[in-house]
């Protein structure tokens, strides 16, 4: 079992990293031939950085769009971020002070994360127009995340798993040593789903995470009159005549 978990771990991390690099490379290489920021848009590079920061940290546009989705979505994402940072303690020895500091918040963030997910799922199930646009995979991702969250919470608060064993196992994996993984069904389920999520990330809707940084309507500077914006394929048209 430990060997299987180890293999899946390496596989998932590899696919995640390689897939994401490939996808990001593709986005970066694809030209944006025209200036299409959704205006009013910042007129300077610094302004764009601010706009993107607001977008990524506060979900500004979603806030304008729908309060309920914003509240649930933001709650979920922020909680997820805190939970992820908290999990660093299982990979790093010694545990950095700031990871230690976040530990108590991390545990409660697990709860708010699941609340956010249920909120989002409720929308998908009960709001007619959102139900209409949902595909099976949209539901499935929410279920996967909810199960990951719930299994994690159970291990934190109810049936404690052998965290020392978990930590030794993963610290070992990072040094390419395969130790013994505690054989705890909750833990194994939790891990399998996380690995699946990592491996599927680069071929799924989770690509919205890197995608947002490459969205021309958000990341372009509003200065088309002041600077001539020309992509490589478009400039070729000019040399043809």
């Amino acid at each position: 079992m430990s060997i299987l978990v180890a293999i899946l771990f390496y596989f998932a991390v590899l696919v995640f990293a390689a897939g994401l690099i490939y996808r990001i490379g593709l986005y970066a290489r694809t030209p944006a031939p025209l200036k299409i920021p959704t205006t009013p848009a910042p007129t300077t590079r610094g302004g764009v950085v601010l706009r993107m920061t607001r977008e990524v940290v506060l979900f500004e546009s979603l806030f304008k769009g729908n309060l309920w989705t914003w509240a649930m979505g933001w709650l979920f994402h922020v909680s997820l971020a805190v939970v992820t940072v908290r999990h660093l303690r299982y990979f790093l020895e010694p545990v950095p002070a700031w990871v230690g500091f976040i530990q108590p918040f991390g545990q409660y963030a697990g709860i708010t994360m699941v609340i956010g997910l249920f909120g989002l799922w409720a929308r998908r199930l009960f709001v007619e127009r959102i139900r209409y646009i949902s595909t099976p995979s949209d539901h499935l991702w929410l279920v996967v995340l909810i199960v990951i969250g719930l299994s994690g919470l159970l291990m934190s608060f109810v049936v404690h798993t052998d965290v020392i064993g978990v930590k030794n196992f993963f610290v070992g994996l990072l040094q390419f040593r395969i130790g013994a993984v505690p054989s705890d069904i909750l833990l194994l389920g939790h891990l399998f789903l996380v690995f699946a999520l990592l491996a599927l990330f680069p071929i799924s809707k989770l690509l919205h995470a890197p995608g947002v940084f490459f969205s021309p309507t958000r990341n372009q500077t509003d200065n088309p009159r002041e600077h001539r914006h020309l992509s490589a394929w478009a400039s070729k048209l000019e040399s043809e005549n």
Partner: protein, 509 residues
């Protein structure tokens, strides 16, 4: 028109219930072989349309980052779902922006993603069948490319970009839209959307000079093809004789007259509109824009000013520099752009919107107005979608909202706003933009106007509004056509420069 009735106003702006299939149908007329071939598209649906369509999609995915990212990034959150005027007006769920994108995304997933190739049901992927193609044609011609949905999307996904790509694919396999392609053909052949040749245009302008003389007693000129003029005015050809557009053109001419600006129109580029954008063809967009470059070079003008037109201003402001070099800041080595940019006077913005031009003069006290001339009006302002979300005026973000309002307040006494959820960046399209201003889509146009009509009606009830100003030729045409269906007087809509024209005091210049 008789059989088309206006949908009922919603009592409170609630999200309408879904009516699946409400707008199913064939869509607007398909372009015939003549109109298609004139633009280099195949005349009929080609035999291997399936493979060609997928190949074209692949090509566009490689050329446009917007499409590439937007196909992947949507999470089906639904924030955009209730933001489209066509969805609100028709209740057809396929007019929800995300559902419209999904018409293409489902095909993208099937042919370009791992999940869609092996688990199509799971991710909602589907083959490109003839039915899907027809569905594309129908629903991608129920989007006016107004970008309202992109304001609210957490990833800035702009359905307009998807619509443009879909239309480009359709045209490239022989399913272009008659209205747009026929018009583009006229621009190439004659110089404007209306197919008004040079002698007829000259006649029209001379007639206009006489009318204005009768009206004002002054010799206000409408010059055509004057070499060495300072300003080249590029305006939508509707301004030459459509109502109420023409009153705006008279307004521009009076502003030029009042300040002694030497200006000219061009018969070669007697069209500000650029329907190349509507059909999503970079090639056509560029070819149409190049006419303006040519005219500017030939006439040797120092400034290019653009009249009241929404998408034309988006193309001019956002794309001209890229497409034709009308702008500033080209590299020293960029011979194509420098050729023109050396000629232009860079103390001014290139191109300049007529509202920027007029507002600048007002600020410098170069124009005098008798505001009481507009006292019969209670005026509100409809932000045109392409100006609001696809361009700017002045130096600061949002200038496209302030400058036209400032002008109105400078020339008239009674100005009120409509519901802020429907103005500025949140404005609703008039319902006729993006290549949909055709009689064969009248039902859609009426329904698409619903959200604007609702809030206009509020403003009429509360403030007695009787003039809705707009700075777009399409808005003006669309509203004067659909407003009577909603029980309003068609003359309630007019340009900002129509108000300028009413109030301007012309001395002896």
């Amino acid at each position: 028109m008789a059989d088309i009735t206006a949908p009922a106003y919603r009592t409170i702006p609630i999200v309408p219930a879904l009516k699946p299939g409400a707008m199913e149908g064939k869509g607007p007329y398909i372009a015939n072989d003549k109109h298609q071939e004139a633009l280099g598209f195949p005349g009929q649906l080609v035999d291997n349309w399936h493979d060609k369509a997928i190949a074209k999609m692949g090509e566009l995915l490689g050329k446009f980052r917007s499409l590439r990212v937007y196909m992947d990034a949507c999470v089906h959150c639904g924030a955009c779902a209730d933001k489209c005027h066509y969805f609100i007006g028709t209740q057809d769920p396929k007019n929800m922006p995300v559902a419209r994108q999904d018409l293409m995304r489902s095909v993208y997933r099937r042919y370009f993603t791992f999940a869609g190739k092996y688990f199509p049901k799971l991710v909602g992927a589907r083959d490109l069948t003839r039915e899907v193609l027809d569905e594309w044609y129908n629903y991608f011609h129920q989007c006016s490319e107004c970008r309202r949905c992109s304001v609210f999307c957490p990833y800035g996904i702009d359905t307009a970009e998807v619509t443009m790509a879909a239309r480009e694919i359709l045209a490239s396999i022989g399913m272009g839209q008659k209205y747009s392609n026929e018009i583009i053909g006229k621009v190439h052949k004659i110089g404007n959307n209306l197919g008004l040749p040079e002698p007829a245009l000259r006649d029209t302008l001379e007639g206009l000079e006489e009318d204005v003389k009768d009206d004002t007693g002054l010799d206000i000129r409408f010059p055509l093809d004057v070499k060495g003029a300072e300003v080249l005015l590029i305006t939508p050809s509707a301004d030459f004789f459509a109502e109420p557009h023409i009153d705006g053109l008279i307004g521009y001419a009076k502003v030029f007259h009042a300040t002694g600006t030497s200006w000219t129109l061009s018969s070669m580029a007697s069209e500000g509109a650029n329907f190349g954008m509507f059909i999503g063809s970079y090639d056509q967009l560029r070819k149409i824009a190049l006419r303006i470059r040519e005219a500017a070079l030939e006439l040797g003008v120092k400034r290019i000013v653009v009249g009241e037109c929404g998408h034309a201003w988006r193309v001019a402001y956002s794309f001209w520099n890229t497409l034709s070099g009308v702008g500033d800041g080209a590299d020293e080595t960029d011979r194509f752009a420098q050729m023109l940019q050396r000629q232009l006077d860079h103390r001014y913005k290139q191109p300049t919107h007529i509202c920027e031009f007029t507002w600048d003069l007002i600020q410098r006290d170069a124009l005098k107005f008798d505001k009481s001339k507009n006292d019969k009006y209670v005026i509100t302002f409809h932000d045109s979608c392409n100006v609001a979300r696809g361009s700017r005026m002045g130096d600061t973000p949002g200038g496209q909202f302030e400058i036209p309002r400032n002008i109105i307040k400078a020339v008239a006494n009674n100005f009120v706003e409509m519901d802020p959820n429907t103005t500025r960046e949140r404005t609703f399209c008039c319902g006729g933009g993006g290549g949909l201003l055709t009689d064969d889509l009248m039902d859609l146009r009426v329904k698409g106007a619903l959200p604007r009509m609702e809030v206009l009606n509020q403003a009429v009830q509360q403030h007695g509004v009787n003039y809705m100003a707009a700075i777009c030729a399409i808005c003006k045409t669309q509203f004067s056509k659909v407003m009577p269906v909603y029980g309003f007087d068609r003359r309630m809509v007019g340009g900002v420069h129509q108000l300028v024209s009413n109030a301007i005091i012309l001395g002896d210049n």
